[in-house]
Structure formats: structure tokens, C-alpha cells
Amino acid sequence: MSALLQVDGVSKRFGGLQAVADVSFHIEEGEILGLIGPNGAGKTTLFNVVNGVYKGEKGTITFAGQDITGLTPDKIVHLGIARTHQIVKPLAGMSVLENVTVGGCFGRAYLGLREAREAAMEVLQTVGMAERANIPARSLTIAGKKRLEVARALAARPKLLLLDEVLAGLTPTEIAQMIQLVRKIRDGGISVFMIEHVMQAIMQLSDRIVVLNFGQKLAEGTPTEVARDPQVIEAYLGDSEITEKLSEKTS
């Protein structure tokens, strides 16, 4: 049984900045893989290379047995990788329901308009936004917009979901709800690859964690292994809060 997503030696450079350098990892089916690292470590860039927003200079990406290196984002979502954005991108003038319908119409599900609308309503129920279906996306709160990002990606019926900091900026209650939602998504058979700064959450959720620093893979392993890794602790030094939380987890 080969991995669902296999990333081999991927690199991405912006002018003089090596944003991602020779990174390899894999995601198993049904797994939640966490991606952590200090600010500017290249986490979002790595997401962008995986879903085709950027083309890497080196390396190959294989998804469900198919080489997807260099494909455009619209083709990649058809094959089954959907994502959310760290900086939310709602289709502001359209209603919440229309936003999610777009996901169902053009994602892997590739439904007709009517079926997509029904599917969108179901997804909105799952994420707990059904009562806000008809309001314009622009009038949602930040938590609502993050949830909308997740709903839109889910409507595509992906095999793999990339979540880019869906917890950032949420209140503790909202974080708890979102953690539940991510679990529910995985239990529904969708693999998850998530970037997160909220350490407690990612330690709880992830089956394994990949740590990036200055574009390179610093460590990989179970949450406990990663938290004990001296290199990881060193990378986070200076950020006493996170170091503390990491050691809290290990003890």
C-alpha cells in the first residue's frame, strides 16, 4: 500500500530566498499530518507547491499513484486535493451557500448546479453554518470565514484536505469546535494535512508532525517524538511560550 501523497525532494526559490529546500515527506490514507515551524519557515509555500499555486524547481509530487508535479491548482482539486487559505479568500459578494456550491460544482465532486447546491447545504450542516447559508460571505466574522473556507474545500469531496492555520485568530470555544470538526472530517475518510501555530491543538490532532525551519525539514515523527527533538526545541528557542508548551506535552 503506497502513500496517498508522496513528496520527494521539492524545492521552491523566490529570487535569493530559498523558501523550500529539498523537502520530502508522505501522507498515509486516513492520516492527520501536522506541519509546524517558526514564522517564515516555508509552510504555506510548501502548501502552495503541493496544490499547484507555485511550481517547484525541483522534486516530484505523487498523489494517489499519479504524478501531479507542475499541474495547475484547478486540475489538482479535480484529482482530490482541496485547501483552505491562511488569509481567507471568500467570494465576498456571493452568499455563503453560493460559495460552497462553487466548491461542489468545480472540485473533485464536479456536480451539476442543483446537486451541488444540495451537497453544499449538507456540508453547511456538517460545519454548523446552515442557518447562515443565505447571508453574503462578506458579512461573516473571521471565524465564520475560516469555517466557510473549510466548507468550500469539503464540498469538493477531496481525498486530501490542506488546512492552512484554520485555528489562528479564533477564541478558545471556536478552537474547540474546529478541532472537533477536523476529527469529524478525518473520521469521514478524508486525510488531513494541516499547518498550525496553536501547539496544543496540533499536538492533540496529528498522527505525525513534520517540522520545517528555514525551508528545510528539521524533524518528522509522532507528536511526542517531535516535541522531544532537541533540534526542534532549539528552533523554537526565543519563543518561550511554544518551548514551554512543547515540554509540557512531553512531560
Binding site: T72, H85, P90, V102, F106
Partner: protein
Amino acid sequence: MIFRRLTFWLILALAAMFIILPLRGNNAALREDLILVAIAVTLVSNLNLMIGYTGYVNFGHIVFYGLGGYIGLYLVSERHWNLFLSAFVAGVLVSLVALLFGLGILRLRGAYFALATIGVLVAVNGFVANFNPWGRSTGMYLSFDAYQPLGGPMRALWTTYYLIIGVMALSLILSLAIKRSKFGLGLFAIREDEDAAVVLGINATVYKAIIYSISAFLPAIAGALMFYKNGMIDPSIAFEYMLSLEGIVMLMLGGQGTVVGAALGAGLYERLRSFLLTSPKLSNFHLVIAGGLLLLVVLFASGGIIGWLYRLLPRSREVIE
């Protein structure tokens, strides 16, 4: 289904009104007024597919109309094809040309795309004005014989009038059908946020090229019919830059992104323009009005008349599309 929508029946009622009104007393003057309105509605509602639906401002939309006129007139007068076939072929050819242009310039975004459309207008105009088979800057004239297949000039005028009303109705129905389709949803997503649309699975480059090409088809047919009716064409009337700009004013006035708004804006503005153009003291004053209207709409009511209606009565959104 589109037949269940009120807007569809409004469009049919409008077309019926256009057909019936000038029949009373064989009113040729009224017919000539209405034909200008029908052309304006056709141009603006197709322009709406680009500006209102997809969010791409096309300053050179008049190119489709003028080029359609040239191809149509050429086929009728030089090749002796019949009008129906000539107009249809003009539509198909201009759509193909637009598809080619579109695949090139629609890689650009925002202001750069808008600039490129001005480039297309200037280049096509320049090409036609120097193209020998089409009479260079003096253009082409139809002989009276060209009207014989339609039963002589008088009958031909009425026939082309009905055809143009048909093209107007088709334009509006096309706008409505696209708005209510999956394809239309994709276009609106591109308008809202093109990057997000691509990540959601929409092939934006192809979608934009297709809608640019579609928005060329009926204007080109309208051009072929209109210049056949007028019996002549030259570059300055085929590619009237000012009309291209006024089309944008009409669309913004009525309400971009809405089927009814495009028709309403075109109708109101065209009547106002005709009134101002024909009153001796106010000749060319319509351009002052056009500029002023555009400023007012952009500054204070960016949704135009229909957008204002939507804000006043949010439920009207369901009925007036």
C-alpha cells in the same frame, strides 16, 4: 428551468412590444428609434457578460459589432450570399477571432486587460482602414439589388428590424441562461476572486476566453444586420470609439451583473442620447451627460439602478435578475 423565471417572460414581453408598437400606422420613425434601442440593448447585455459577470472591463467591445458588420456586408455585396447566412457566418467568424484574442490577452488581469482591449480596438480599426478588399477608409456600399432577395428595400427594412429584435431577445435570454448556469457560477466566482476560483477548480483562462468569445457572437450578428440595413459601412461608423465607452456608461447606469439592468440602462440612455442629439441646441451635449452619469453612478450607486433596487427591496433579487 429558465421558462419558470419571471425575467424570461419579461424579455419575451419586451420583444413583443418592440414588434407590435411600430406596426400601428406603419410607423417607420418609431421603428428607427426602436432599432437603435435594440442595438444598444444587444451590445450592452453582451458587454455585461464580460464586465458584470466576469469582472473584466472591455473598452473595445464595439470591435465585435463593427467587424461583424464588415464581414456581413462583404459577404452580401461581394459574394452575393443571402443575408441570413452572411450574418450567421459573421457571428461565427468574429467569435473565433475573439477566442484567439481572448486566449492571448485574457492572461492579463485588471487594468492591463483593459488596456489590451483598447489595443485590440485600435489595431482592428487600423487593419480594416487599410484593407483593400473592404474599401480601406471609404468602406463599402450596398447596391439596391442586394435588397431584392428580401422583397425590395422597404420590405427589407422591416425584415432586418424583426431580425434585430430577435437578436436583442436572444442576447437577453443568453444572459439569463448563463446567469442561472454552472458556467455562470464559475464566471461570478472569477469576478469575486480569481485566485480563489482557480483553487476551487475553475480553469479561469479557458472560462474567460469562452465568455469573451460568446460576448462577441450576437453583437457581430447585430452589426451585420444593422450595416446591411444602412447599406454602407466605413471604419469611423463601424468602430465608433465613443459608442464603446457609452456602452460602459449604459451598463453601469442600469446595473452591471444583472440582465434587466443591462437592458434598462441601454434603453434609458439611448432614448436620452437620441433626444439630446436631435435637439439643435444640445448637439453633442449627450457626452457631457454620459460623463456626468458615469461619475455619479461610480461614486454613489456602484450597483446602478438595479443595485439600488436590490438594496431597497432585498427580496427583488429573486425576481429581477
